[in-house]
């Protein structure tokens, strides 16, 4: 998908760099939403940092697993505990009762050592930092 976009940029009938950026941005957005669903996952980003929020109400935070490799955040979220105990008659069953695995791919490699994960009011919030060696460096242009 990315290679096809680049060929369009450099070949006949090429697109402008801005059009290419917008198409790549849409592709990245499509990669984010999987098991959790777009209504439960939110992502913010700047050039150097990102925040990922996932709605996971009623979960034991000690059971949530978060791992980071390069530009990918892997989440493993256990099923919510069953509240109804004993001899009950169910009238409504909408809450999810299955384990969820979610991958979020960000536009830059991440520094796992600078990740902060907080579970508050049923929302998992990850504060992420870009890896230092992946940050762009300014190049001075000398006048001849």
């Amino acid at each position: 998908m990315v290679a096809r976009r680049i060929r369009r940029f450099v070949g006949p009938g090429s697109v402008t760099p801005w059009q290419l950026f917008e198409e790549l941005n849409r592709d990245f957005s499509d990669l984010f939403i999987s098991a959790v669903g777009s209504d439960r996952l939110r992502v913010w980003s700047s050039n150097d940092s990102a925040v990922v929020e996932v709605d996971v109400p009623g979960i034991d935070p000690a059971q949530i697993q978060v791992s980071i490799q390069n530009d990918v955040v892997d989440l493993s979220i256990p099923a919510a505990a069953e509240d109804a105990e004993g001899n009950v008659r169910h009238h409504l069953r909408e809450r999810s009762r299955s384990r969820v695995t979610q991958q979020v791919r960000l536009p830059f490699p991440l520094d796992a050592g600078k990740t902060d994960a907080v579970y508050d009011k049923g929302v998992l919030r990850l504060s992420l930092s870009r890896r230092e060696d992946s940050k762009p460096t300014k190049v001075a242009v000398k006048a001849v």
């Binding site: 939110r42 409504l92 049923g122």
Partner: protein
């Protein structure tokens, strides 16, 4: 119990703040002596929660904090304040004065006891 559809969304525009109205997912069940509801409202605490019971209609409303951008740009998902709204019609024969509820980790738990008259009672049969 009867209820409106799950997970419908509507967008309300306010100056500089977008609020999304969300119908929260819920479980409801009946025990021998009570009706119990478990409603998912992630991001809501008791300070931003309202529960009312009028004529057997239980109305729930809860609001999250506004999104904290801190200079970041939203790039995925619906980054807005969420307003959870849902109502449930409970059966007759409840003791409304004994409604009990709490919210923890984004899950609202509500318990409404059945009235004494509506609870199932065993009838002893005598030998004639």
């Amino acid at each position: 119990m009867s209820q409106n559809s799950c997970c419908e969304q509507a967008v309300v525009q306010e100056p500089n703040v977008q609020t999304v109205v969300v119908t929260p997912r819920a479980d409801g069940w009946e025990t021998e002596d009570a009706y119990v509801l478990s409603v998912e409202m992630p991001g809501v605490d008791d300070a931003h929660l309202e529960v009312t019971l009028e004529k057997n209609v239980l109305a729930i409303s809860g609001t999250t904090d506004g999104p904290q951008f801190n200079g970041l740009q939203p790039i995925a998902g619906n980054v807005a304040r969420r307003q959870y709204e849902r109502s449930f019609r409970l059966p007759e024969g409840i003791d409304a004065g004994q409604l009990d509820g709490s919210i923890r980790n984004g899950v609202l738990s509500l318990r409404v006891p059945k009235s004494q008259q509506s609870m199932r009672r065993k009838i002893s049969v005598r030998q004639a």
